[in-house]
């Protein structure tokens, strides 16, 4: 119903502003309805400003900036409707190291009671995991096998083989 949608939307709007502000102090993030008088048919507008930069059309942001905006939106929505676990498949592929750290810090701090499963090639992300699984097709036969990896105690060449490292 319209009432339920508007009230949920308003909560998401608040959470998005707070999430984006926490990730990028000095910046601002805002959700809006393209047709406020007709909420159930309206589109959703995303307007953000990164610190030190002007307001831009979504098209003008960089690849990494778009991923960051989408992640802030995802985090805001997860706060509105908590799911018991979340699976993210290489969502940080476009991020530089500083923003990867920022994203992981936020995730650890804000969602410390929720399970996350992160698929990744990024070594910064791997190091944060409580538990790490390596999936390989040893012997190249097209059959996936799994090994549990204790990143901290593994010898470098074992880690390399697992993560497809040179």
């Amino acid at each position: 119903s319209e009432k339920a949608f508007v009230s949920t939307f308003n909560v998401a709007k608040e959470k998005f502003a707070a999430t984006f502000g926490a990730l990028f102090p000095g910046g601002s993030g805002e959700l809006g309805l393209t047709e406020p008088e007709n909420p159930l048919d309206s589109g959703i507008d995303v307007r953000v400003r990164f610190p030190g930069k002007g307001e831009l059309d979504l098209l003008q942001f960089s690849g990494g900036e778009r991923s960051l905006i989408a992640l802030a939106l995802l985090f805001a929505i997860l706060k509105v409707k908590p799911s018991s676990f979340t699976v993210l498949d290489e969502v940080e592929a476009a991020l530089d190291d500083v923003n990867t750290q920022k994203f992981l810090d936020y995730l650890g701090k804000e969602f410390s009671d929720r399970q996350f499963i992160l698929i990744t090639h990024n070594k910064i992300t791997m190091e944060r995991a409580d538990r790490l699984y390596g999936v390989t097709m040893r012997g190249g036969g097209g059959v996936s096998q799994v090994v549990s990896v204790d990143f901290k105690n593994l010898k470098q060449d074992e880690v390399d083989e697992l993560i497809g490292a040179a």
Partner: protein, 166 residues
């Protein structure tokens, strides 16, 4: 933690029964290109009841079943994904402390769901999952390459994300 483990057997590249335990808050999955990481994500979407083969990158339901490379050996007779959900904090009298939900798809095209070993209807399984905070709608799975689409330039698409919430 609510999601305790997931087991894949005969599902895509997982020919042999393979179990992932999720006993930490942040679980990482790593491995070379093409080794089977995103197939695990597909397995989670599939067990949550996602009806369309395309969402698990398959043309038909049959493509979910393990098929050997170049015909060495047989393809599996069925694809199976099972999850174990912790239910110790339930409010309902007489419920078990753990739910095990399995989805099987046979080469014949038959699809069977079981709940703690007994055949069950998808409707009943969906109700349990929703109560435990598992559900497709709650954005609990962001597949590879999907983070950029999240911000999809069409505001109308974005509204669908919010509709799930209301």
């Amino acid at each position: 933690e609510v999601l305790k483990e997931i087991a894949l057997e005969g599902f895509k590249s997982f020919r042999d029964k393979t179990v992932f335990k999720f006993d930490g808050l942040l679980t990482g999955v790593v491995g070379p290109n093409g080794s089977g990481k995103s197939n695990v994500v597909d397995a989670i979407k599939w067990i949550l009841g996602d009806p369309s083969p395309r969402s698990i990158r398959a043309q038909t339901g049959l493509e979910a079943i393990y098929r050997p490379a170049n015909g060495n050996g047989d393809s599996a007779g069925f694809a199976s994904v099972a999850i174990k959900i912790d239910n110790t904090e339930t409010e309902i009298e007489g419920e078990p402390t753990e739910w095990e939900i399995e989805r099987r798809y046979y080469k014949s095209g038959e699809s069977v769901y079981t709940l703690n070993g007994k055949t069950a209807r998808l409707k009943d399984i969906r109700a349990i999952m929703a109560r435990k905070g598992f559900g497709l709608g709650s954005l609990s799975v962001v597949g590879q390459g999907e983070i950029d689409g999240f911000l999809s330039l069409v505001p109308g698409d974005r509204r669908l994300v919010f509709e799930d919430l209301a």
